[in-house]
Symmetry: D3
Subunit: 178 residues, 6 copies
């Protein structure tokens, strides 16, 4: 049984998704503990003032854009390992998706929190939820505003696993000036 090289290094100076010969693999997490793992991701979509107003007025009686985007985001988190080639399939135990309206910046912010009791983290599931939540907003509003832009999609914090707790340094300049 071939077992070429230690592959799940977390030393931080090499990519774990490649083996010693540089080929991609789905890394071995079999020896990792089943711990409670949590990840929070966040991102936003910016739009025109009229589009923002139309979304803000929506509700289940007429035009509930955010309610639909929330469902799409939750469902997408369950498809993460189908989409991301080297991502492990995981039994998620909790997914929440919140949208926050930011009228000053004409943005809708999306925050997803995903949890599992498992052997790998759920950052990818949280990011996928955010991406698809924002994409669904784009889809539903594109007929009136094709120029919407999605930005600042990132992991905000994570907990659990060997690397423990991590919180993003949000004061770091994430979007450099062009």
């Amino acid at each position: 049984m071939t077992n070429k090289a230690p592959t799940s290094s977390t030393s931080g100076d090499e990519f774990t998704h490649f083996d010693a010969s540089g080929q991609a693999h789905m890394v071995d997490v079999g020896a990792k503990e089943n711990t409670h793992r949590v990840a929070v991701a966040r991102g936003k979509i910016r739009m025109q003032a009229q589009t923002f107003k139309m979304i803000a007025q929506g509700n289940s009686k007429k035009g509930d854009v955010l309610g639909i985007a929330r469902i799409a985001a939750i469902m997408a988190s369950k498809r993460t390992s189908d989409l991301i080639p080297l991502c492990h399939p995981l039994a998620l135990t909790r997914v929440t998706v919140d949208f926050e309206q930011d009228p000053e910046n004409l943005c809708i912010h999306c925050t997803a929190q995903v949890e599992t009791r498992g052997q790998t983290g759920v950052e990818m599931e949280a990011l996928t939820a955010v991406q698809v939540g924002l994409l669904t907003i784009y889809d539903m509003c594109k007929a009136v505003d094709r120029g919407m832009v999605m930005s600042d999609i990132r992991v905000m914090e994570k907990r659990g696993g060997k690397s423990g707790e991590w919180v993003a340094d949000i004061d770091a300049p994430t979007i450099p000036t062009r």
Copy 2:
């Protein structure tokens, strides 16, 4: 056979994904022409200098991050209608995904071009390709750089269909100052 209201309005002052009573539906594109439709979407992921350098050195012999992200992006474009609730299934006729290294800003830019001969546009397929391309880069590098940020994901241009050609106004201030 119920046919409550005209539903595929493109007048630009209402969301087409809701019917006259405000309920979500997959809009009727049956009367639209099968035309050659093209969409180009673009986005970027920003990272630490060391991460950028590691990706730049990758190749098929060791650590081909971008080659894998390209495949993930192309495959994801084919799953778009599975992910986006009101998106029509479409037979894509061409998908290309390019990555561009931007050492000055420590960014990888992803550009996806999608084409079809069909009854609806392919903006969502192009955006989904970009999102999953960037997500895959995040996944493969997250062990060394958890703080990567994805931004400026947008449609750059589209062609075909009733609304014809559209090009993004990229000089518009898409990311407002915080």
Copy 3:
């Protein structure tokens, strides 16, 4: 090239999903015309009075069961050929799903209308939408009412294709007395 037997008989006295030797196949629709095809399916879920009241009070501000069920139904119609073994994949051009509250009988009725320009009908897509719409209501309410029952799920009418228009005889006794 084997072409054992005429397989797409619509004479009505044999199952078209089996070939002359009785083996299952996906029937040949390649010679059929691309016509405008429409199907309407319908079904209901019966529940306790308290459950019905809770659903009726729901909206996007709190507990929009029907809005979520509608999205699930629409998405499921796009997955029909993944679920039903001998169903042809189809590019749907329109999907609408409506829920109707029937307080007298403590039922929610679900009606799905699906359309395509294609070579086969869309009855299965409409039925799948109704089934998953009702299932989603069950899922969201099962913590308060595990005994809900789904019934009278059927095709109401169809149009297009060689067999033309068909309307269900709803006065026929569809649910025999036990």
Copy 4:
């Protein structure tokens, strides 16, 4: 890390699939025990006498409708969390699907039993199996009998988990007189 409100209430007077602010989420099952969980669901499809006779005569040599429907039902149970928005993905440990012919009422009854060792119940998986089993019968017979009707689809019993054993009260009048 946001944790707005207790969300997995099972008090029976509110829907658990919404949080305190009324937004949909995938509820937290992370603290639940991994117990042996079983669910049995059941439903039927009614048809014309000739259709019933044709199905009854089927076998693997010619026209095995029920054998194919059984496979579709089993496969569908594995796709449940893809179809039902707020359903947790689960590793099923056993799925059985039985069909029973009821010549007196011209019905085929479908019973599905699903089991897992997991943190949530498998009622939805059992119901999905029944629904897709019946849908597949409809699909295979629709060329000869478009008016078939699916009814009485319900959970018959469940075991395991905090709420323990539950058995449907089948004498309750589930199908009200029209």
Copy 5:
């Protein structure tokens, strides 16, 4: 709109799935004609005498291995573009799968014929059907015969499209002596 290089060359001296710079893409088939396209693929699985006998005795009353493998093969052909990265999604118009028992060589042969009216060929769909048909036989018999071997999986013939008809040269030595 970038359009770097002619990409759908069929000159036979280069791989069409890479662009001029060597990067993978889903090639442009948009200018190709919608023609009637047919592909036939074939393969076999070899087993122990006892296993062969058990399969041969199967029928819908007890152990219909081949009936189940046929359904799996047909369903898999519809998933081809989900599995093969650069494969175009296609609306298949016909799929048939046949098994042939070869008692002399203790093999089951699987032949799949797939058809479409589309812009690309269906060789991959036919091969995928054969592979999954054989895999399903393996799965169902592995408890009694883990050493089964699948071989000689190939395209036998294709028709339609620009390259027209092609028939495999089956007398060529396909399996070299070890």
Copy 6:
């Protein structure tokens, strides 16, 4: 609760995927232990000399056929339970796929190793990875060599579970003379 017959017999003289009445089911693995399970599968694709040479020259700069096939193989292993009707869904903990060039026989060999901590083995996941890895090579090279043949696809060894370790007898004549 029906529990007709002991169903997970491993006595080796009957197919476990059928119950006592001969109907297919997904066998009960709920009582099995969660052990470390490993499976290795292998197969090859034979081609013309020119095709072999073109693949051998590929790399991430131009035409990385094997890199793409590896990703497809890994992703396919995660879809196994979607493709194989009676296969249990499993949380894989490790997947590796290697290609070996065999210039003497003009073959590319594919070896996949899959691991889990679970209640059933991962032979099917390893075989699916090999099949889709080889299919992807075929897809990418078919424009230059339609006659490629895939052979000798088999499980090489497995570990874990009640049946313990098993190694293929590779000296057995697996491909009988025609």
